[in-house]
């Protein structure tokens, strides 16, 4: 059991860590000038960074930022995408055609390129970071929902509900949405892993949260600078990021298999 569910354990550990760091007596921005780039020790598990700040609390503070971004962006983009996808797939016609055309345009920008561009022009900061990621990540939810609705429309229980005179919102919410939940959940999981990376990428480029607030991308950038003399810095941050993304992805795989969603 422990082997099977390690991804859940890793995620739980991170969640607990972010909660602990916000409740407990930790000072992620406190500077110890005598401990600049000090190696990990028993009392300070991951050592210190280039300004003499302890890495572990900063890592957890960074995880907190990451968590906030991921949750807020997912909540906004999933709701928006699901509503647009439902309307587009259910009504069809010009609404559908124009929405698909719009999503095609967004999909023409590879990866996080558009998010980088928007984050750049909007300016640094948490809100703009979230906005930039929202602008670019609603598309996959809309496409997925629409595709599913197109096939659900032909299902007998939907046709039955329609002929019994059920209202359109009722059909969408009661007869379609529950069947959409599984594929959407899987999509959301993978998308969350992508958002963790995207947030880190943007802050790596200096576009996310600004110093002295901790963020994984910025920590990695600083860590790379000192990777020769203090490899513990970059390794600590990088391996953390990797463990989180890996755990979310594996969770996604498991959900997909368990809920029998075809990719």
């Amino acid at each position: 059991m422990s082997r099977k569910y390690w991804s859940v354990w890793v995620l739980a550990l991170w969640l607990i860590g972010t909660v602990v760091v916000s409740l407990g007596d930790f000072h992620p921005n406190q500077i110890h000038l005598n401990l600049i780039l000090a190696k990990p020790s028993v009392n300070h598990l991951l050592g210190f960074d280039d300004l003499g700040r302890e890495i572990l609390p900063r890592l957890l503070a960074g995880a907190q930022v990451s968590l906030v971004v991921v949750i807020v962006v997912t909540a906004i983009t999933a709701s928006l995408g699901i509503v647009l996808g439902l309307v587009s797939g259910y009504y069809g016609g010009w609404i559908d055609r124009s929405l698909m055309q719009i999503t095609d345009v967004f999909l023409a920008f590879p990866g996080i390129l558009l998010a980088i561009a928007f984050a750049a022009v909007l300016g640094a900061g948490l809100n703009n970071l979230i906005l930039a990621l929202c602008i670019t990540s609603w598309v996959s939810y809309a496409r997925l929902t629409r595709a599913q609705v197109l096939s659900l429309r032909q299902r007998q229980h939907v046709i039955a509900a329609e002929s019994l005179g059920a209202s359109t919102p009722r059909i969408m919410l009661k007869h379609m949405l529950p069947l959409l939940a599984a594929p959407l959940l899987v999509e959301a999981t993978y998308s969350m892993a992508g958002l963790v990376i995207a947030e880190a990428s943007l802050s790596f480029l200096g576009l996310g949260i600004q110093a002295p607030s901790a963020s994984w991308g910025a920590m990695l950038r600083d860590g790379v600078r000192y990777m020769l003399i203090a490899p513990h810095y970059v390794l600590g941050v990088g391996l953390s990021l990797m463990s989180l993304v890996l755990a979310v992805n594996v969770l996604g795989d498991r959900l997909r298999d368990q809920l029998d969603v075809r990719g």
Partner: protein, 303 residues
């Protein structure tokens, strides 16, 4: 075929519009943001009319579109150079990097995928799965420094960064290529597994062909079709990956130009970089679809 070709037009139009909107997303006065507070009012008015910001927005878009089509992509605020020249200077470096990364990805991903499919659920398959999963969880800005540390600093036989050496390209290309190789491995494995159960494979074996011929000539050839499509789509994430990878390795391509322009608030250059990468991506996808119809007789005869 023609339908696909014409379908690109509204997408390109939309891409241009969205990148056009970028400069309008700048909070406050874009002129002030770009020139800084100390700029003279003559400079401000000049830039404002250069960008067409004194016109209504639909006129601005029309002018922008017209200029783009005529090869006038504007002037860099920072270096005062023509943006078209800047792009032309940087594009070959990015193209070289992306193509080599693609080559690496195919060289690593295809064989691994084939081996994983042949040894399904045995240790080579499990190893390949573990590798591709872990690599997928390594963003470029983590993979890059790791490769740097391993090959350039510890083993010391490849240059750390820059582009003076002929071998400088290897590490950034590997950084980009590994991610794609991971996806390719999984795709090839899945595709091969499907094909290996087909009747024509049994026929080929029954004919007494050598196993290598069955695998390479019959199975892999059929399995390649879906892989080509994925490769085309994934080339996009490769292009987006150049932004970070080129920054990590100081590789002077479009991606680094984009980051530099962001740092200098040279938004017309930012806009142009985003536009050119998106356009390349659209064209690559179009080309992939075309190639797909060429190499798959079923699609060709169906249309």
């Amino acid at each position: 075929m023609m339908k696909r070709l014409f379908g690109v037009i509204p997408v390109v139009f939309g891409v241009v519009f969205l990148t056009f909107l970028l400069v309008h997303a700048v909070p406050g006065d874009p002129v002030e943001v770009m020139l800084g507070e100390s700029a003279s009012s003559a400079d401000r008015i000049q830039l404002q009319s250069d960008l067409g910001l004194d016109q209504p927005i639909y006129v601005q878009f029309g002018v922008y579109l017209n200029k783009l089509v005529h090869g006038d992509w504007g002037v860099s605020i920072h270096s005062k150079k023509q943006i078209v020249d800047l792009l032309a200077e940087r594009l070959p470096a990015t193209a070289k990097l992306a193509l080599l990364a693609l080559l690496f990805a195919v060289m690593i991903g295809l064989p691994l995928g084939v081996i994983a499919a042949l040894k399904v659920n045995q240790w080579p398959d499990k190893l390949a799965n573990l590798l591709s999963l872990s690599i997928s969880a390594m963003p470029h800005f983590w993979m890059g420094p790791m490769l740097m540390m391993l090959f350039a600093l510890w083993l010391g036989f490849l240059p750390v960064s820059g582009m003076e050496n002929g071998t400088s390209i290897i590490l950034p290309a590997l950084t980009l290529g590994f991610g794609l190789a991971a996806i390719l491995t999984r795709m090839t494995r899945a595709s091969m597994l499907e094909v290996l159960h087909e009747d024509f494979i049994r026929t080929a074996r029954a004919k007494g062909l050598a196993e290598s011929t069955v695998i390479l000539r019959h199975a892999l050839r059929a399995a390649l079709l879906p892989i080509v499509t994925v490769l085309g789509l994934q080339l996009g994430s490769l292009l987006a990956g150049t932004v970070i990878t080129e920054t990590v390795f100081s590789w002077d391509g479009i991606g680094r130009l984009l980051v530099e322009s962001i740092e200098k608030r040279d938004y017309p250059v930012t806009q142009a970089c985003v536009l050119v990468v998106a356009l390349v991506y659209v064209l690559v996808n179009l080309a992939t679809d075309m190639i797909y119809t060429k190499i798959d007789p079923r699609v060709r005869f169906a249309t």
